[in-house]
């Protein structure tokens, strides 16, 4: 099934929460989903027999300067089709989005990494702690406004 068709069917099922379908030349098309609908949309995409997205390929955050985006790449092994969903978070101070850990376990570590790198909290995640940086690290490195600290625990950071 093409991404456009998936968008139309999702829109018919979930209504307002499925916001728009963005297509750019040469790029992968993606569906913009509202923050409150994402968990429901994920469950529908996984369980409905016409979608069957049983495989979460990737979950990542993107800093878009004025907002954050959480991007979900999904794939169906059975039906061999892909879809990309995006949640735009305009609140830069305390961005949060519902966790999809209970839909796909892949999301567990990916959400932890996104939290670590962007400071986006995933509500309902069982163990939302830092994963790549040390547990006592301050700041979220992949934010565009992140400043590299000069010292870590009293040691000079060498670059």
């Amino acid at each position: 099934m093409t991404a456009n068709k998936i968008y139309e069917k999702l829109k018919a099922e979930l209504g307002e929460g499925i916001q728009e379908f963005v297509e750019m030349p040469l790029s992968d098309p993606f569906i913009v989903v509202s923050r409150d609908t994402i968990l429901e949309a994920c469950l529908v995409l996984r369980d409905e027999p016409e979608f069957l997205f049983d495989y979460m390929v990737n979950l990542s955050g993107v800093d878009q300067k004025d907002s954050f985006a959480v991007v979900y790449h999904l794939y169906s092994i059975k039906l061999n089709h892909r879809v990309v969903m995006k949640v735009i978070l305009t609140d830069r101070e305390s961005p949060s989005v519902p966790s999809v850990e209970r839909v796909w376990k892949t999301a567990n570590w990916h959400e932890r990494e996104t939290f670590d790198m962007f400071g986006i909290t995933f509500d309902g995640h069982p163990n939302l702690i830092r994963i790549l940086t040390p547990y006592d690290w301050v700041g979220h490195p992949l934010r565009k406004d992140y400043k590299t600290p000069d010292f870590y625990k009293g040691l000079k950071v060498p670059y």
């Binding site: 993107v62 991007v71 790449h73 892949t106 994963i131 040390p134």
Partner: protein, 384 residues
């Protein structure tokens, strides 16, 4: 000789005090700088918590501050065992995004390099897995052969592990003379060693005792955790990107997707994951043979289509390829400038390791080492 006595002990009723043990970060069997916090009930593993990040080098942050071709050497350093395979999805994705069509010969050279590197990776994986289980001789045999592949790559690119050989729009160098013959020599040697290793390692009684029925991963658990590559195929699911969504010129070759069959134990155990790797080496040999035969003769200008300055349009895409360890993908966001806004790598080993706590509960601590070895992780890729 008197009969060997066996004792029936019901472990379910004997409980000791729970003990927490740190495996690593500096331990040969963790295959890198990985710390496993293990909770033990006697010798039985009740909980595993992997602590990663000791090798974190901020690849994604670095990539945001570099031009598109400058990212490639950093990608090499992610999975340093299979650097050619790492470059492939990035380069193919960028070429698709920039609408560059490369010469046919370049595609063939890329496929041959990727498959040779796949063989080298699987040789190292099976060899070190054997080493974990106490088999030292196959390790030496595999490393002897791997040396041939690495020497060939050294002649191609100048580097033994980190190549920077695939460029956006071409290659660093053309192949040296006798490239095809050298590939065929390697294929011959790989096949000879594989036949030997099947008897020496895979069907060895001790090895089967250590690996069969250990670390069983059902296919639905594997899919839910998102694992890919030989780890997923070991659970019996024939998912291979080279077959399901052929990229580059993989649709021109005849090869099989190997799956685990539960031959000596249960489907999806450590042994299955390793036999998939052994069989995949043979499939890679088949692809190399066909590619060498089909490759256009004569020299070609491999830098002809390499753009002087890369400034793509605004957009975003996900590009993926079947790495030896599984699906390696890059999610790249471009804002129309010389540098990418975001390069997200979907690291294969990162996802494959996340299943470890799920599949290692209830086994002995010695089995935990085998399960970890069978996942074939590279910490450079996990931590990035």
């Amino acid at each position: 000789m008197s009969e060997v006595k066996t004792f029936e002990i019901d472990f379910g009723k004997v409980h000791s005090e729970r003990m927490r043990l740190n495996v690593g970060p500096q331990h040969p069997s963790t295959h890198g700088v990985l710390r496993l916090e293990v909770e033990l009930d006697g010798e039985i593993v009740t909980e595993v918590i992997p602590h990663i990040g000791y090798l974190h080098r901020c690849f994604e942050k670095h990539a945001e501050n570099m031009t598109y071709p400058q990212v490639i050497p950093y990608i090499d350093r992610m999975d340093y065992i299979a650097a050619m395979n790492n470059e492939l999805p990035y380069v193919l994705g960028m070429e698709k995004f920039l609408e560059i069509k490369v010469a046919e010969k370049i595609d063939y050279i890329r496929v041959i390099c990727a498959e040779l590197n796949r063989i080298a990776n699987h040789q190292l994986a099976v060899a070190t897995f054997g080493l974990d289980s106490g088999a030292f001789t196959p390790f030496l045999f595999f490393f002897r052969d791997r040396e041939m592949i690495i020497t060939l790559f050294e002649r191609l690119s100048g580097g033994r592990l980190l190549y920077n050989y695939f460029w956006i729009g071409g290659l660093m160098n053309d192949t040296p003379a006798n490239f095809g013959d050298d590939c065929m020599d390697i294929v011959k040697q790989v096949r000879a060693t594989n036949a030997e290793s099947l008897n020496l390692l895979m069907y060895n009684e001790i090895f089967i005792k250590r690996t069969a029925n250990v670390g069983i991963m059902p296919a639905d658990v594997a899919v839910n955790y998102g694992v890919s590559g030989p780890v997923l195929r070991g659970s019996g699911l024939p998912y291979d990107l080279r077959r399901s969504e052929p990229y580059s010129i993989y649709d021109r070759f005849d090869f099989d997707v190997c799956v685990g069959k539960g031959e000596v134990g249960t489907l999806g155990d450590c042994w299955d994951r390793n036999i998939v790797r052994m069989n995949e080496m043979e499939e890679s040999c088949k692809i190399i043979e066909q590619a060498v035969a089909q490759m256009p003769k004569g020299s070609c200008d491999v830098r002809e289509f390499v753009p002087k300055r890369i400034k793509p349009a605004k957009g975003e895409f996900y590009t993926k390829a079947e790495n030896p360890k599984g699906e390696l993908g890059f999610y790249i966001v471009s804002d129309g400038s010389l540098k990418p806004t975001r390069v997200r790598s979907r690291a294969t080993s990162f996802v494959n390791l996340s299943v470890l706590p799920e599949i290692s509960k209830g086994y002995m601590i010695a089995d935990l080492i085998m399960i970890l070895g069978s996942l074939d992780i590279v910490l450079g890729e996990i931590d990035r």
